[in-house]
Subunit: 406 residues, 2 copies
């Protein structure tokens, strides 16, 4: 039975991790920075080394293709992203891209030609850390966002995705839009503690939880910290602090619900001025759309109540809704078959995070493969995975793709 | 009885306010920026127009001097600052500098020569908004900070006070250190609601409340917002939010106590990452040193308790303590005499804010004069004061200084 080269895959992961390496062993390679360009260039060079054709689309998504015997068949694809969180790890996203590359390399080693073409994909700006929202490249491809929207997203300095794509030389000409695909797979670390706790090597991902992202702004009044009596204040940060703490209390009442405030900024930072305006974000998730909708209402009620008490004017902007996702039964089946055939311990699992696969699942048959990561930690420099699991996941990807490609 | 020229003072205030004017009618003229240089240049040109000698010291403090009859007498001084908050008003500080200038202009109009010399002073970086801590220029002069400390304070971009003084041409050669002073007065808007509520034109300031400034840092762990179950999290911002809200609750139990969190920053802002590190500041004030010390302990207990529950590692750094200040009885008496003689409604008041006068009061005889400001609002673009009160305060300053100067 064909097997991927685990050492080669591991070494490629380590080489990629040197681009944007951080002191604590993580990676900071934000989307469309010079470092992202270096990572993309390295991936493209590896694809060309094994004779793949490489195309870049209008969103900077990279498609490396190994032709099949039947040029009329749609491709079987696998991919993920090379951009990282500001303080990210070596595996999130990168494993899915280089795992897909390792599948193509393995076919090349064995001179194995499939019926359908096989593609490895690097999607642009999956993290959304530099350009919110997340999963933009795959989202535009899948028709969830239009191209203008994708191009015009801005980073905190006001630079657009289009300008930055052009600057780093990755504004391609291939159309960024849906075309026929036989199956799309994505290989990823779990980014949570479940597989490790259950001592399983492989997670057969059946779908993803729903997620809402909010931009919040509270307007109060700047005034002097030393002379404004407490009852006269309209302190925007006090309002935010109470909302942040109370919202978590509400979410803790609800099994499987998650809430995170990952961004907070005052209009003016000054030690002796009462903050007149605060901006913060909320990330709220639940596998059940009904429950998520209830939490949305809870948030709005809480903001109303606290802002009334604190004499603040709130703005709540639901900037992004990722619906609950159910993956394609046939793709999920191919992943299960591959894991069983290869003899890896496995279990079904729902993805806690959003992935490019979630965007793809709305328009093409999609499946995902998880492997454990140490202590369930991700979006952190100490993110870590075992070489044994890295190999297992890539072998499952290889055989699931082979089953789809014929 | 000699009187200042209220129209001229008002027009000078309005002209200075054009430098760094904001859309909402306020002022943004941060210490040692190009705008601060423009403001300083304008003040110096006005001082020279009336024949004053102007000297700049090593901290960039500006001393404009009108000689007296007796060159052996120490000067009677008045001053304040021209730097503003990031979103400040037209009067905070500026009124004290241009009020002192108006006194010198008035003496010049009347060819009135006092026994002692009279000086108008502009102190460097009173706000501390760009270079914490506050009241640096007067603090070095009064020996509360040494010169190296003053020169080496940095802004958020890492630029030092010394480099920025040099850049804008205000690194002077006069020694920035204590020299004999007969009396120091400072004219200021109240920045609080008391005089307005009591319908008094003039506040006779008897002293200032104590103030502690803290730098706080909480260390948790960055991790993924979608995959980290709530009980596994070490969310630094949740810890900060609870401390901010609970600290206010504690302060509300204590009459006359004030607490403000005016700065908050995450190490990484990312919508879908649990914050692993947060920095924030605390400004805590009370007129009674005993009570302030009790609040300090309360803060430390609260941080211990919450960080234990949230699995965070806290750092508490008390970066600055401004002790309670009592002004000089003779200077306070001169202010009272002047207000009574001129027939202005008046009351005694304790300053809620720190002022350059608080630094001066540790080493030279010091007094302050307050006037009301609209709704007690300051450190805000809508900060406002009545021309009638502006004139009243400057006339009190004139006559208090004349009494000290003989």
């Amino acid at each position: 039975m064909m097997e991927i080269n685990g050492n080669r895959l591991w070494e490629s992961l380590m080489e990629m991790a040197e681009i944007g390496a951080t002191e604590k062993g993580g990676c900071r390679r934000l989307a469309l920075t010079d470092l992202d360009r270096q990572g993309r260039d390295l991936f493209v060079s590896w694809c060309r080394e094994i004779g793949c054709g490489v195309e870049i689309d209008e969103m900077g998504n990279i498609f490396a293709r190994k032709e099949g015997r039947n040029p009329d068949l749609p491709p079987v694809q696998a991919g993920s992203h090379l951009d990282t969180q500001p303080s990210g790890g070596k595996f999130d996203g990168v494993y899915g891209v280089l795992g897909a590359l390792e599948v193509l390399r393995t076919l090349n080693d064995h001179d194995h030609v499939t019926e359908a073409p096989m593609e490895a994909i690097c999607w642009t700006n999956e993290e959304g850390a530099r350009f919110p929202p997340a999963m933009i490249g795959s989202g535009v491809w899948a028709g969830i966002f239009d191209l203008d929207y994708g191009h015009s997203r801005v980073d905190p300095e006001g630079k657009t995705i289009r300008d930055e794509l052009e600057r780093i030389g990755y504004l391609g000409t291939r159309s960024c839009s849906l075309s026929p695909v036989k199956a799309y797979y994505e290989l990823h670390i779990e980014q949570g503690p479940v597989l490790e706790a259950q001592t399983k090597s492989v997670g057969i991902v059946t779908g993803g939880q729903g997620c809402n992202w909010y931009h919040m702004r509270l307007h109060g009044m700047d005034s002097h910290a030393g002379t404004t009596p407490m009852p006269y204040r309209r302190d925007a940060l006090q309002g935010a602090a109470r909302i942040i703490a109370r919202l978590r209390e509400a979410v803790l009442q609800q099994e499987n619900a998650l809430v995170t405030v990952g961004t907070i900024e005052l209009q003016h930072n000054s030690i002796n001025t009462i903050p007149g305006e605060v901006f913060f974000t909320i990330d709220m998730r639940h596998p059940d759309p009904q429950v998520l909708s209830g939490l949305d209402q809870k948030l709005r009620d809480l903001v109303d109540e606290i802002c009334r008490e604190e004499k603040l004017d709130p703005e709540i902007d639901l900037i992004w809704e990722a619906p609950t996702v159910n993956f394609d039964p046939e793709c999920v089946g191919s992943v299960r078959n591959a894991a069983e055939k290869l003899g890896f311990s496995n279990m079904e699992i729902v993805s806690g995070a959003g992935h490019d696969a979630c965007q793809m699942s709305h328009v093409v048959p999609t499946g995902m493969i998880f492997i454990p990561c140490k202590d369930g930690i991700s979006h952190n420099e100490i993110e870590s995975a075992e070489p044994e699991h890295i190999s297992a996941g890539a072998n499952v990807l290889l055989h699931a793709m082979l089953q789809s490609a014929g």
